[in-house]
């Protein structure tokens, strides 16, 4: 009984910190969802775009730039990285996953070049989290409010965007690119813009993370993709993905639930080194589920991340 109480109390103590972290990382999950689901462009760029955003933001903060400027430049850098991945795929007909790996690998060097060293402390620099009204800067509450507000704004804007004429066209490119082209949609522009937008969100996440934790590290993206995928799948299992609204809500809900789950596992005594294995097995199980179901004879589900 004591043990359970112990686990529970240490988990509860971590809930606010974890919530703040998950709201920041929700943007990476969004940056993974858009290419995978909306554009049918399985993409790994986020693993490089996330630290890219972090490194750009870190260097600018260290140089005395305002936190908003730092985030804005990080967003642009992320956007360009995503554009490059999409361009590599479209122009040279390289598989999207390979194009993503290429970009991610090259970005590692670029990130090192940007920072000049492998990590950079920006502790004490101003951050967007200082601007939460009535709240003490530096505490989880201010991070939850600020990250939550940005998240809500992005969610609402994207939901509106995907229902506009342009947004519908971008979704059509993911649904059936030949058909989209035959309906007069420029597939190149839509794909490059869409993947760019997704990477911009990943970079936003990295920039917010650096402002939240007070340091930037070139290795901060390590494993972010598999975490994001796991979060996305949890989110889709909870809210579904049949409509634009649900598909957009999935990354946010998934990120919050996933990181609380991780925190619970750690509180329950799971050794941190095993975390990636556990996450990997979880993603594998989620991907394998449809094919296991199929062999039992129920309706086959098409899974775009497979194959």
């Amino acid at each position: 009984m004591d043990l359970i109480q112990n686990i529970f109390s240490s988990f509860v103590a971590l809930v606010p910190v974890t919530l703040a972290q998950s709201l920041i990382l929700a943007f990476v999950v969004l940056g993974i969802m858009i290419p995978f689901r909306t554009l049918n462009f399985p993409d790994l760029t986020s693993e490089g775009a996330f630290p890219l955003g972090g490194c750009v933001c870190g260097v600018l903060l260290a140089g005395g730039a305002s936190p908003l400027t730092a985030i804005a430049v990080a967003v642009i850098a992320g956007f360009l990285a995503g554009c490059c991945t999409a361009f590599i795929h479209l122009r040279f007909r390289i598989h999207t996953l390979l194009a993503g790996i290429l970009m991610m690998t090259m970005l590692y060097s670029i990130n090192l070049r940007i920072m000049g060293k492998s990590n950079l402390s920006v502790f004490g620099s101003p951050s967007v989290f200082d601007w939460a009204p009535y709240l003490q800067p530096g505490f989880p509450a201010s991070k939850i409010v600020i990250a939550g507000l940005i998240g809500a704004a992005v969610f609402i804007l994207l939901n509106m965007f995907f229902k506009t004429e342009k947004g519908t066209a971008i979704r059509a490119v993911g649904a059936n690119s030949d058909m989209a082209e035959a309906q007069g949609i420029n597939v190149w522009v839509a794909t490059i813009g869409g993947v760019g937008l997704a990477s911009a969100f990943s970079a936003t996440s990295g920039a917010l993370m650096v402002q939240s934790q007070g340091f930037a590290d070139v290795n901060m993206g390590l494993g972010i993709l598999i975490n994001g995928l796991a979060a996305l799948m949890i989110g889709e299992a909870i809210v579904g993905k049949q409509t634009v609204l649900r598909q957009l809500a999935a990354p946010f809900v998934g990120a919050v639930v996933y990181y609380q789950l991780v925190s619970f596992c750690l509180a329950a005594g799971m050794p941190p080194p095993d975390l990636k294995l556990a996450t990997g097995l979880f993603v594998l199980a989620m991907l394998a589920l449809p094919s296991l179901k199929r062999s039992r004879g129920s309706a086959p589900a098409r899974e775009t991340i497979r194959e």
Binding site: K166, T168, D178, A182, Q183
Partner: protein, 259 residues
């Protein structure tokens, strides 16, 4: 008006399996004319349609639509002028999107897409009305995702999407071949009604000789990438299935059965 001027396309050039798909093909289709294209497999029918739509880049020659040379235009630019219904019902629609969203995409084919809301009440009412012409009940399924429709319903939707907005040129690529006979008949009747009502310049590829006899103002027969035969006017009105089959250099079982 559609004009093809000495179009030439060679696949696998310089290799052992070199294939001349289009061999100096020239063709004219007047405004409002409904041409039916026939020919055996490999005659160049699909290559010709792809060359017109822009999916196939010609080695030489020109494609002219309503007096404008579109040879250098990519597919999405040519879409402003032409609409196409594919043989495969899956190809012409976006499966994971709703009927209304697919209609919207087709509706915006020749317009600039803006940041305004896509599906508004006016548009939904228009789509409902257009779909009700089919008599398949699609007008009540505007929010259904297209992947849940049958092949015939999807193909009918593709057709309505293609003829909406009166394109300068309508390309029908064996668009009833994948359907069961009854559905094929419904889609074919809807096609003829729309083409007549809107006076669309139309090019229809078919393997169904009866369709070639029954519909259209002219019959165009391709063979080995060349124009082998063109029957139009009074001659077209009198032509029979047997006459058409007689012109094929290679006769398939399917054609013989049709006679």
């Amino acid at each position: 008006m559609l004009e093809i001027r000495s179009a030439r396309k060679v696949f696998y050039k310089g290799q052992a399996d070199e294939k001349v798909a289009l061999d100096s093909l020239s063709l004219k289709l007047a405004t409002g004319e409904f041409g039916v294209v026939i020919g055996s497999n490999g005659a160049g029918k699909s290559s010709m349609l792809n060359a017109i739509s822009g999916a196939l880049v010609l080695d030489s020659g020109q494609v002219i639509i309503n007096g404008d040379d579109v040879t250098a235009m990519p597919v999405h630019k040519r879409a402003m002028r032409l609409a196409r219904v594919f043989q495969d019902p899956m190809k012409g629609t976006a499966a994971s999107m709703t009927v209304a969203e697919n209609m919207l995409l087709a509706d915006l084919r020749s317009q600039k897409r803006t940041l305004r809301q896509g599906l508004n009440a006016t548009r939904l009412a228009t789509y409902k009305e257009r779909l009700s012409l089919l008599g398949l009940g699609l007008e009540n399924r505007l929010d259904t995702r297209v992947e849940l429709l049958s092949g015939g319903q999807r193909q009918s939707l593709s057709l309505i999407m293609a003829v909406g907005g009166s394109p300068d040129l309508l390309l029908l690529d064996e668009h009833t071949a994948a359907l069961d006979p009854r559905t094929a008949d419904i889609v074919m009747q809807a096609t003829v009604r729309a083409v007549d009502a809107l006076k669309l310049t139309t090019l229809m590829v078919t393997h169904n000789m009866q369709h070639a006899v029954d519909f259209g103002h002219s019959v165009i027969m391709l063979d080995a990438g060349k124009l082998r035969l063109e029957i139009s006017g009074e001659e077209k009105a009198k032509v029979t299935v047997v006459d058409l089959i007689g012109h094929f250099s290679v006769k398939t079982d399917r054609m013989l059965l049709a006679s």
